[in-house]
Symmetry: C2
Subunit: 298 residues, 2 copies
């Protein structure tokens, strides 16, 4: 496994792969912010299935953090990250500095509208402009055929798919299923922020989504607002939970499902997406639902 | 010369070139809005010098026109355009429809800040977002090593160079000198809008720039505001001229030069840029100046 820190060296290295395999080397990119966990590992496994060369980037991207967010304190552990990537059989880990990625503060931003209007796009203004801009940079540098993203950041997947489609970018965005702890907590680098009690209470997120799934499967007539109310009252039973949003939307368009719509009859894939704070830690989780008549793109 | 109207066919065709020449075929892209003139021809000549495969795109891009601008009436003449491209030895002319380029209205826009604040960026809000977005699409489709643009649209060159740098796009933006009629009028597809009297009076633009050049070369102490005043009073002597802007800026940063700065001593390349309406036709023109201490990037 090669650890590369400069853009020019990475491009040179990848060009060797392309030339040596006569156009056939497929490159898979796994963009991460490091502090890797088994969720990231699953992306690398998936990349290995799709691609001949697996590139993992580790870059805590300053421009996707808002003022007062956790850019400075975002957890970092390069040594452990490299060990995990090595174990996954990654070919190249790209770890640029901020100065390498932004030799000048960027004056160019990519902005996706509509799909960024709700959920984290509403709670974290400018966040997705930072994500689309840096992912676009990484795609231009690596020129992969495939890029892999966790479905936990479902809105990120939807926004990136929109960007790729609109700008004719030559890459397939491959969403990968959420990976959870045995007790249901969705894996996240930010989980380390949680103290014991917060971590325990945070289980309410996955539990409420599973309950919603049961209601969806068992009832032919549950409405979007009933599902949302069910989740709301369950999460409110956790005294430490401060709800940012609970939304029932189509996926990947992220258009709200009408309150009185019977969710099993909606003609589109549905996502229930949550963002809830426990102490100072903001967690997100979601679940996809496939009403009859809809077909999955994930 | 091949005339191609679909993105997938164009990609397929270009892939043939890439494979057949074992990675070495350099592709040059000349993006245009058609109604081609000798200015465009000079871009094709330049592309021929740089590239093995010359692709000219002809696409009147709706999203770079503002409400009330001339999108609907922008001059079009495909037959003549194809004859000109053929004569220039172009390999491929790409003429997509609006539906081919925008199967859905784009929700993704690329926005370059600062360099778009002044000149046409100020007069035509949203214009450059439309330009950067469509050029980015064309670059992703064609994947050229070089893309050629006329220096008449100097701000466009500056904005695209910023975008390419910020987003790590794998292309070199090659600016090409302004081509003029014998009497000095800068070539533009919009010149056909001018009636005889307007066309005659429009010569004041190039004349005023040449006068500024003489002042720049002859005087060691001329200031930015003196240069601008000189041009202003000359253009105002044309009764049909309605001035949009006359600006003295650094290039390509497009930062205003201080009024009292002695232009020959500025440590940066300088541009004098004009936009003036004659009747309903808005014309632009500009000239680059190289003070001592500055070095050219064009």
């Amino acid at each position: 496994m090669k650890v590369i820190r400069s853009i020019s060296e990475l491009k040179h290295e990848l060009q060797q792969y392309r030339v040596s395999s006569q156009h056939n080397a497929k490159i898979g990119l796994v963009p991460t912010m490091g502090f890797l966990h088994n969720g990231h590992a699953s992306l690398m496994t998936r990349a290995r299935e799709f691609a001949d060369v697996v590139v993992v980037s580790i870059f805590v991207n300053p421009i996707q953090f808002g003022p007062g967010e956790d850019y400075e304190t975002y957890p970092r552990n390069e040594e452990r990250d490299l060990a995990l990537a090595e174990k996954q059989g990654v070919d190249i880990v790209f770890i640029p500095t901020v100065a390498e990625m932004y030799p000048q503060p960027t004056k160019t931003k990519i902005r996706v509208s509509e799909r960024t209007d709700r959920l984290c796009g509403a709670s974290r203004p400018g966040h997705f402009d930072g994500v689309t801009t840096v992912v676009s940079k990484l795609i231009n540098i690596v020129q992969p055929q495939f890029a892999f993203f966790g479905q936990k950041d479902a809105q990120q997947v939807a926004v990136l798919q929109q960007m790729v489609m609109d700008l004719n970018i030559n890459v397939e965005i491959v969403p990968c299923p959420i990976v959870r702890e045995e007790d249901g907590l969705a894996l996240s680098s930010r989980n380390v922020y949680l103290n014991t009690e917060e971590r325990k209470q945070a289980l309410v997120l996955s539990r409420s989504l599973r309950d919603a799934e049961v209601a969806f499967n068992d009832s032919k007539s549950v409405t979007a607002s009933e599902l949302r109310e069910k989740i709301l009252s369950m999460i409110q039973s956790s005294p430490l939970a401060k709800i940012d949003y609970i939304e029932v939307l189509t996926f990947p368009e992220l258009i709200p499902v009408a309150d009185n719509a019977i969710v099993t009859e909606v003609e589109s894939q549905i996502i229930i997406a949550l963002a809830v704070k426990f102490g100072t830690t903001r967690l997100i989780d979601n679940m996809l639902f496939m009403p009859k008549g809809a077909f999955s793109i994930v």
